[in-house]
């Protein structure tokens, strides 16, 4: 299995063996991510970071990952101050930037942008989110968090919140299907997981249960993965408040959960998780965002050929 020059576009192009190898590599690099040791693994390499949409965690964790491995980061900066504002196509921008870098991280507002970029690039493209499409590095860090803080084998997980539009949960479901997880989907009927994804999971012999009650879902799961519920999905603000309140994770709710339950969230959160949960042993979301660094270090080192 070789990762050198591999484009990372969608989870669907990764087998379980490939995912395991990436997670193993991330675990080896974790001491470097937390400054416990130093590395020059990517010295002399340049990572181009092109974000056409705002981002905090994804962008900064990619930049940190590259710097922790001794590499340099080249940033597109503001789209308004670039040739893109003059009407340059993404294809042309990629053809130019590939000449300046050893890999390109791309976030774009249009679905399929990373796939298109990969067709015009001789260096690896890493998809950091393409519209409502894919965000595979988020899924890798979610899997890594589950593996480090809970367990991937025999996992029972509840996914709660906006399961209709949330791209992170779609990719995560696909990846969890490779590990045979038991999945409970918790959402109001307006934000249910698309039927084709549920059918796809069932066709992989995954146990899937759908409910709108978080109390019911929480009792026997190992991980509760919450996602942001966006106000703009609801025409009626009162309905939004009702749904958001019904899915809010509080210390009182967590009293019904197993002691080892971990609460995850891709962040930013609004009011899905009561801040009082932060101080409980269940809270895992800030660690989750840190784990983005070793996971992205692993991906960068593998696609740039610095590690096998």
């Amino acid at each position: 299995m070789t990762f050198k020059d591999l484009h990372i576009i969608s989870m669907k192009s990764f087998s379980r063996d490939m995912i395991d190898h990436i997670l193993d590599t991330a675990e080896k690099l974790e001491p470097i991510a937390s400054s416990k040791s130093k590395s020059d693994l990517l010295k002399g390499k340049v990572l181009a970071v092109m974000f056409f949409e705002p981002s905090t965690r994804t962008r900064m964790s990619f930049e940190t990952a590259m710097m922790r491995l001794g590499g340099d980061v080249l940033s597109l900066g503001s789209v308004d101050a670039s040739s893109i504002a003059k009407g340059e196509t993404l294809a042309d921008t990629i053809r130019v930037v590939q000449g300046y870098s050893n890999a390109i991280v791309l976030r774009h507002n249009k679905e399929g942008a990373a796939q298109l970029a990969s067709e015009f690039s001789s260096v690896p493209i890493i998809n950091a989110g393409d519209g409502a499409g894919h965000h595979p590095t988020q899924t890798f860090l979610d899997l890594y968090t589950i593996r480090r803080e809970s367990h991937l084998e025999g996992l029972k997980i509840a996914l709660a919140g906006d399961l209709k539009y949330g791209r992170t949960v779609h990719s995560l479901c696909y990846a969890l299907s490779l590990y045979g997880a038991e999945i409970t989907l918790v959402s109001p009927k307006e934000l249910r997981m698309p039927a084709e994804i549920v059918d796809d999971l069932k066709s992989h012999n995954i146990k899937v249960r759908e409910t709108d009650s978080i109390e019911e879902a929480i009792t026997d799961v190992d991980v509760l993965y919450a996602t942001r519920i966006q106000k703009e999905r609801f025409p009626d603000p009162a309905e939004y408040r009702k749904v958001a309140n019904s899915l809010q994770i509080t210390p009182e709710l967590l009293e019904k959960a197993k002691p080892e339950l971990k609460v995850m969230h891709p962040l930013p959160r609004t009011n899905e998780i009561d801040p009082r949960v932060d101080d409980t042993p269940h809270a895992c979301y800030f660690k989750q965002s840190f784990y983005g660094v070793p996971v992205r270090m692993a991906l960068l080192a593998l696609v740039m050929g610095a590690l096998e």
């Binding site: 969608s10 196509t89 993404l90 774009h108 249009k110 399929g112 796939q115 298109l116 067709e119």
Partner: protein
């Protein structure tokens, strides 16, 4: 003989000497077939179209193109909207070759992605591209860029 009893002369589409007859087109799809074949154009010759023609299995559309033999790629594109069509190559009034359309694994530049936010619908130097998945009598197209699928009304999204 009264006016009501006067026999109405049957209007027939004449046999063609050389060209292609596309038979058993899904009823209502003939104009989309012409669209896929880029007809009419100045060099398309005489083209006859039958819509909702009676057939053993109900109704069908038929297209007769004079002076043009369709190639394999053109025939396969037709399968997206008329998977049961048959292609008859006519030479000197005789059926010289008869084939069924073959559903291709991939198509590009035929159908437009239905997702308005797909990168293939923007000002980029790429043509739309889909993988084709036959499912019984139904066909599903999956965009190679955004992965959105089209299974209903494919003929409405021709480029």
């Amino acid at each position: 003989m009264s006016l009501e009893e006067t026999p109405i002369p049957e209007i027939r589409v004449h046999p063609i000497r050389n060209g292609t007859v596309i038979d058993h087109i899904t009823a209502g799809q003939a104009l989309n077939v012409l669209n896929i074949l880029n007809i009419p154009n100045p060099s398309s010759g005489v083209v006859s179209v039958l819509i909702n023609a009676p057939s053993v299995h109900g109704i069908k559309d038929v297209v007769k193109i004079e002076g043009r033999e369709l190639n394999v790629e053109e025939v396969d594109r037709i399968s997206l909207i008329a998977p049961n069509a048959t292609i008859n190559i006519i030479r000197n009034f005789e059926v010289s070759e008869k084939t069924h359309v073959h559903i291709p694994e991939k198509v590009s530049g035929v159908v437009k992605c239905i997702n308005p936010n797909c990168i293939s619908n923007s000002n980029e130097p790429v043509t739309s591209r889909f993988t084709v998945k036959p499912d019984g009598r139904k066909i599903t197209l999956r965009c190679s860029y955004c992965e959105r699928t089209i299974s209903e009304g494919i003929g409405d999204h021709l480029l």
